[in-house]
């Protein structure tokens, strides 16, 4: 497959900065005592987070445009991506309401259906198919969660929509299980020990935070990722561990699904901002590419000597 432009790495890095700084660190910092000398630093951090969000959103628009061009030979696919680009651009003027909100979320579901179909067709093994399915289910439940109240409002039905909490919880369960599916794709025996060790950091940080103050951890989790932590907390810790190790392994070997995981994670669960939705869908698109797909034209480090594990991975 032809290498992807560096735009994708820039987008993933900017989206990651938006997620970790704007939606996580600056919000968590609300609860930290701030002496007078620290406040300018906090304000600077908040401004940098806003800059990262703007940069990520700008790259999101550009990447969507690139995708419309890239898929131009397929009218249907290009039309769907073009519609998403148009909706996101138009929503800067007027937030979609009523029937337009229904159409917008319906469009998201159509795109997810298309992407899942492509993922199943292009994946060379059942591991990636399973991982793509979990990702699609996670994103689709988030879209449905937003679509249903819009549907009731648009058509004047009596509400509220039933089983809303159950749908939300189903999606959160799918989000939590998705990293395990990618873990299987990455084949744990091929993951370096240093990646396992580094992955312990976020998992342990979450564990300590949860044990110290579960309520505040849950609030920060909702702000940062959209997850409510309703499942047993060890599941989230293990999921975070699996995701971290998998991403580190994939990035070192420059596999597309590493960048895809970062983009999808940056979008969050049941995102409300158009830019976050774009990150998640673009990440999902990366998953539909034949795996492994390099994301730059030339490796920055010598290509690792193929090992038995990597060649087996290539044949997934």
């Amino acid at each position: 497959m032809r290498p992807l432009p560096p735009l994708w790495r820039w987008l993933a890095c900017a989206a990651l900065a938006d997620w970790l700084i704007t939606r996580s660190l600056t919000r968590a910092a609300i609860h930290m005592p701030k002496p007078a000398w620290l406040i300018p630093g906090y304000e600077g951090l908040a401004w940098f987070g806003q800059f990262a969000s703007t940069f990520a959103a700008l790259l999101g628009f550009i990447t969507l445009g690139w995708l419309v061009w890239h898929t131009r030979r397929s009218w249907g696919e290009a039309g769907l991506w073009g519609s998403l680009l148009a909706f996101n651009a138009a929503s800067l003027l007027i937030a979609p309401a009523g029937l337009w909100a229904v159409l917008y979320h319906g469009l998201l579901l159509l795109i997810l259906t298309l992407l899942l179909t492509q993922a199943w067709r292009n994946a060379s093994g059942w591991g990636m198919r399973l991982a793509a399915t979990f990702t699609a289910v996670s994103l689709a439940t988030g879209a449905l969660y937003q679509l249903r109240p819009a549907l009731y409002t648009a058509f004047g039905w009596l509400g509220p929509a039933p089983f809303t909490l159950e749908l939300f919880n189903l999606g959160e369960a799918s989000v939590t299980l998705t990293p395990f599916a990618f873990w299987l794709v990455a084949r744990p025996p091929s993951i370096a020990r240093r990646h396992f060790a580094l992955a312990l950091i976020p998992a342990l940080a979450f564990t300590v935070a949860h044990l110290a103050n579960p309520s505040m951890t849950a609030i920060l989790s909702v702000w940062s990722t959209g997850l409510t932590l309703y499942l047993p907390w060890p599941l989230y810790a293990l999921s975070l561990y699996a995701a971290s190790a998998t991403v580190l392994h994939a990035l070192e070997h420059d596999f597309a699904f590493g960048w895809a995981l970062l983009l999808v994670a940056s979008g969050g669960y049941a995102p409300q901002l158009g830019s976050q939705i774009a990150f998640a869908l673009l990440g999902m698109w990366l998953l539909t590419q034949p795996d492994p797909a390099p994301v730059r034209e030339a490796p920055m480090r010598p290509t690792p000597k193929p090992t038995k594990e990597i060649s087996e991975l290539a044949s997934l």
Partner: protein, 343 residues
């Protein structure tokens, strides 16, 4: 790095957009559509058939965790709300699950169930927790104990029916109790017009706030929000109603076809929730009937005006130019990226 100039150009563009606060993302939050009816609003009957004409939405709540006093394990997780309006009034029906009915504040260890609606008095969305300096909010606070007081005034003897008082000056009965004191001369809070001591004609207190710690009750003459609440089978159902327009400048003025922002908060008395220890929501959009103009507004209701072209131009033209610039740049950079990748 490949394409460093392109990268730097994009960084500079993002910096400019951040500096001028041009948003490149938007969201569609929850929208509550108030349905219009021609009859009188069912302001004392939560089970009235008229409420079925309004689409209900479920608003998630989370514990207030910005300022103390805070309590992170609040119990009310979601509220269902629907709205009706007619030519003169608007009414909201809010419902939430609560296993216990806490409608007494007589004992110091008891706390009431309550629910509140919050409306900004300025354009846009001020801080969702009680507004901020320069951006006041109008609050309608329904209290379960005020609701109970309307049926039968509660006092110490309600909680302690066998209480005995050694001596009450000027009491005429053999066994004096607070009920002996109907003369306001001996009930200074009532004489001073304290709303908490007054005979409640409405279970809703009308307040204004501009940030934490600034909440202020509107005067007795300004208490123009009515309400009704009933608890049954583990659920509270509370109705708020008020005229669409008000003479009070501290009140939100509403009119048909306009959009407003609204937030909700709830307290579970059995969980000792009170003051800032509550569950709150983010801002949701309230649409009073079919939209008549673009964008939300909290301006006072006026006589019918022509379409606000000026407002739309001032807001829309710059955004349109930015959008076109972004799309044009996206297209140009897409072409450049493809040229750069061709071998």
């Amino acid at each position: 790095m490949k394409h460093p100039r392109l990268f730097l150009t994009l960084l500079m563009l993002a910096g400019l957009l951040t500096l001028f606060k041009v948003p490149l993302a938007s969201s569609q939050g929850l929208t509550l559509m108030a349905a219009k009816i021609t009859a009188a609003l069912p302001v004392t009957d939560p089970a009235a058939a008229a409420w079925q004409q309004a689409t209900a939405i479920e608003v998630p709540l989370s514990a207030q965790n910005i300022t103390k006093p805070m309590f992170l394990s609040t119990r009310v997780k979601a509220i269902t709300v629907r709205a009706l309006y007619n030519e003169a009034e608007i009414a909201f029906l809010v419902e939430w699950a609560d296993d216990t009915k806490n409608d007494s504040m007589v004992r110091v260890q008891d706390f009431r169930d309550a629910v509140a609606l919050q409306f900004p008095l300025v354009e846009g969305q001020p801080f969702f927790c009680m507004g901020q300096i320069g951006s006041n909010v109008n609050l309608w606070h329904w209290k379960a104990d005020w609701q109970a007081d309307i049926a039968a005034r509660q006092d110490m003897e309600t909680a302690y029916p066998n209480m005995n008082v050694d001596f009450y000056p000027f009491a005429k009965t053999a066994f004096p109790s607070p009920a002996d004191y109907a003369d306001p001369n001996y009930v200074p809070a009532l004489a001073a017009g304290n709303l908490f001591a007054a005979v409640h004609t409405s279970p809703v207190e009308d307040l204004i706030a501009g940030g934490f710690g600034s909440i202020t009750s509107q005067g007795a003459a300004g208490q123009n929000v009515q309400g009704f609440g009933a608890w049954a089978n583990g659920k509270w159902r509370v109705i708020f109603n008020r005229a669409l327009t008000s003479k009070e400048t501290a009140d939100l003025q509403m009119s048909a076809g306009k959009q407003y922002f609204m937030a909700l908060a709830a307290w579970d008395g059995a969980n000792n929730e009170r003051n800032g220890m509550k569950s709150t929501s983010q801002w949701i959009t309230l649409q009073v009937g079919a939209p008549a103009t673009a964008g939300p507004t909290t301006r006072p209701a006026e006589t019918q005006q022509p379409y606000d072209f000026t407002g739309v131009l001032l807001m829309g033209v710059p955004m349109l130019l930015v959008t076109l610039a972004v799309l044009g740049l996206a297209g140009a950079l897409t072409v450049l990226a493809n040229f750069g990748n061709r071998k």
